[in-house]
């Protein structure tokens, strides 16, 4: 029979209770479903005739994303041209290492690669296959399996798909936030502003019908204020 009045036994019992409580807490922590805290972003820039001049916006956006993303996050930059659903359309992609120092090095390399692409760019594309680019980005975002998925679309949203390409399909953008940035107005939009609004509305509808969330930020400075990637 245990003598509970003995101080040593009482202390031992208290210790046992404490250990049991700690173990139970750890067990509860372990049983809880792990939350995915990682983020993934895909920057899709249009290099067609009408938008190629806005390349600097893509560089600024990439730098902003590099400063916001941290260890374990993923980032990729791709471009929209005549046919966008190919691996060659990805300029750079990276998943940052768990160590902050290594992640910093990866960011430097990534930045150099994107800057190199911008500097070496010469000929704009004739067509702009936006759907192909979105499909490419969607595949990448699905592949990295992040908790938050963002697709940044730098384009005038004027799709001009070559006749040989079949792009009438579902995008399947579930859990992806599509952010249209710097949607430039075309000359025809000046003549008929309704066209511009219709274009935006059709893309918004298309994204939301495919399970995605739509946002539009025309000014880069507002991106931070809107709390994207926070």
């Amino acid at each position: 029979m245990i003598d509970v009045t003995n101080p040593k036994i009482r202390v031992a019992l208290q210790g046992l209770r404490l250990i049991t409580a700690v173990l139970l807490s750890l067990l509860l922590f372990g049983c809880a479903e792990p939350t995915n805290h990682s983020r993934a972003a895909f920057v899709l820039m249009d290099i067609s005739d009408s938008y190629a001049a806005e390349r600097d916006q893509a560089r600024r956006l990439t730098n902003y994303l590099l400063s916001q993303l941290d260890t374990g996050d993923s980032l990729a930059v791709g471009f929209i041209d005549n046919s966008s659903f190919t691996e060659r359309n990805i300029v750079a992609q990276v998943t940052f290492d768990e160590r902050p120092s290594v992640a910093s090095q990866q960011k430097r390399v990534f930045q150099r690669r994107v800057t190199g692409f911008m500097e070496n760019f010469q000929t704009p594309s004739y067509h702009s296959d936006i759907t192909g680019g979105v499909l490419l980005a969607r595949d990448y975002l699905e592949q990295v399996d992040a908790g938050e998925k963002h697709l940044f679309l730098l384009s005038d949203l004027h799709e001009d798909v070559p006749p040989r390409l079949e792009r009438d399909m579902k995008l399947n953008l579930s859990d992806v936030q599509v952010v249209a940035i710097n949607v430039k107005r075309q000359r025809s939009d000046n003549e008929n502003p309704q066209e511009y609004e219709q274009r935006l509305a059709s893309w918004e509808k298309r994204v939301e019908e495919n399970g995605g969330r739509w946002a539009m930020v025309n000014n880069m400075e507002r991106l931070e204020k809107r709390g994207v990637l926070r």
Binding site: F29, H37, S67, D70, T71, G72, P100, R108, Q111
Partner: protein
């Protein structure tokens, strides 16, 4: 709906309303005794129930007060015992250190006094100048010179010889005096030594006297606590509250120190445990940093416990001296190792911050600026990383005070809550009682017309049969006389019973009115 009901008796709303009023007042008048009974009994029931509840809380309050006092006095007694023990240890130290050398000091004093006495005796053995010399000189000087040159010459020679002898004697006297002065002069260091020794003795005795006074004061306090006097309880409560606020303040400062420490090591911790793993919603690196700080605090607690500065863990306190020493060394070693780790982490943090700064600059397109004195914050962070663990290690002292005083504070808070609850219950009970009385009166206000009629009828009936009431009064008279006599016999009891009777009469009067039926009215 309301309009339909209103015009049920007549098309004219005024007439219909009047009919409704008559019906309602009649019904209210008919139900008056039961309504009064309902209102009063409800009011009394609430009042009684809450009074009983308040009484129970009062008892609980007294128990809490007693328990608080017991705890306070027990703590105070323990503190007083420790303080008295400390004072005795001090006295023992003084006695062992200073008074153990007292025989040596006594011998020194005796020797010094002997030497002084001997010197003093030597200094007073001074040979006085023979007074006859002056007379001889005067006699020779006054001798008449008879004109004989030989006699004059002889006298002159005698005078010279006498003067020479006088000078020699005077010189010898002066030399002797100088010698005595020299002896007296040599006494000065002895006096000084004596003075110093006496001062030492005085200091020792004064220290002992102070300790004795402190012990007396502590003993008085202890006695007061043992008797459980209110003065002691109040003093202990006040002291406990002061301790609580001071220790809370120090713990808050320590918490801020912990936060700074956390920020110093959380970022570089990501390099060690990875920046992308989470436990729950918290990054593992943050938890690792917190664990390091907690372990440091724990080691500090163990170290203070091993040094017997705090008394938080009876297990450590009950260990033998050798084991406690080993434990203290182990805790200190771990603390030093952790301080070293923190220092290096702080340096790594500085490097990472520099790297991030450079990266942010390059991303923003700005040129990296060369800073000349960048090493100063690096060294500062390293030092902070090394010192903060030791500073946090001392958190055990305020923690112990906080834990001890928390018991008193919680007791006082519980007491305050109980008192507030008791007062609230009493207020609600009293208010219910008065509200029921108010509602009874309000009820009568609604039916004042039939009540007035009732009063008029009553008065007429009374006026018609005055003769029937007189014998009743006469019958009641002897009882009243007896009561008066009884009151005269026991004035104190009578006053009490009168008061009680008055209260009972009031309630009975109220209750007596209750069974009044409409027929009786």
């Amino acid at each position: 709906m309301f309009t339909d009901m209103l015009t049920i008796w007549s098309a004219s709303p005024a007439l219909s309303l009047a009919i409704w009023l008559v019906i309602i007042i009649t019904l209210l008048y008919a139900g008056r005794p039961h309504a009064h009974q309902l209102l009063r009994s409800t009011g009394r029931a609430i009042h009684g129930t809450l009074r009983v509840a308040s009484g129970s809380i009062r008892q609980l309050e007294e128990r809490v007060i007693k328990r608080n006092n017991d705890v306070l006095l027990a703590q105070g007694r323990e503190e007083a015992e420790n303080a008295i023990e400390r004072e005795f240890v001090r006295v023992n130290t003084i006695v062992e250190r200073d008074l153990s050398q007292y025989p040596v000091l006594h011998r020194k004093l005796t020797e010094t006094l002997d030497r002084i006495e001997s010197d003093y005796h030597n200094s007073i053995e001074n040979k006085p100048l023979p007074p006859a010399w002056q007379e001889v000189m005067d006699t020779i000087k006054n001798l008449p010179s008879s004109g004989d040159p030989a006699v004059a010459n002889i006298l002159e020679n005698i005078k010279e010889v006498v003067e020479n002898s006088h000078e020699q004697t005077l010189k010898a006297y002066q030399d002797d005096t100088n010698e005595r002065h020299g002896i007296l002069k040599s006494m000065r260091p002895e006096w000084r030594s004596l003075n110093q020794n006496m001062q030492k003795v005085q200091q020792t005795i004064t220290g002992l006297e102070d300790s004795a006074k402190t012990i007396d004061r502590r003993m008085d306090e202890y006695e007061s606590m043992r008797k459980g006097e209110n003065k002691a309880v109040n003093a202990l409560t006040s002291s406990s509250l002061t301790q609580f606020f001071i220790s809370s303040l120090v713990l808050t400062i320590a918490a801020f120190g912990g936060i700074i420490n956390f920020h110093l090591i959380a970022m570089p911790m990501a390099e060690m445990v990875g920046g992308n793993s989470y436990i729950g919603s918290m990054p593992t690196s943050d938890i690792a940093a917190l664990v390091i700080i907690m372990v440091e605090i724990t080691m500090g607690l163990f170290l203070l416990e091993a040094l017997q500065v705090t008394k938080l863990f009876p297990v450590i306190r009950n260990l033998d001296d050798r084991m406690r020493k080993y434990m203290g060394i182990a805790a200190l070693t771990i603390l030093v190792i952790f301080a070293g780790i923190e220092s290096s982490l702080a340096y790594m943090r500085d490097l990472l911050a520099l790297d991030r700064e450079a990266l942010a600059g390059s991303l923003a397109g700005a040129e990296a600026a060369e800073s000349q004195f960048r090493w100063i914050p690096s060294i500062g962070q390293m030092m902070l990383g090394f010192i903060l663990p030791f500073a946090l290690a001392f958190v055990g002292i305020p923690l112990e005070s906080f834990m001890h005083s928390l018991r008193t504070v919680l007791g006082l808070v519980a007491l305050g809550v109980l008192r507030t609850l008791r007062v609230t219950l009493r207020l609600i009970g009293g208010f219910s009682n008065h509200l029921s009385k108010m509602l009874v009166n309000l009820y009568d206000v609604f039916i004042m017309v039939p009540l007035s009629i009732e009063r008029m009828v009553k008065s007429r009936l009374d006026a018609r049969a005055p003769q029937q009431r007189e014998p009743e009064v006469t019958e009641q008279a002897p009882e009243a006389t007896e009561a008066k006599e009884g009151e005269k016999r026991k004035p104190g009891k009578a006053a009490k019973s009168q008061r009680r009777r008055k209260e009972t009469d009031e309630s009975e009067l109220a209750e007596a009115e209750l069974p009044l039926t409409t027929g009786e009215a």
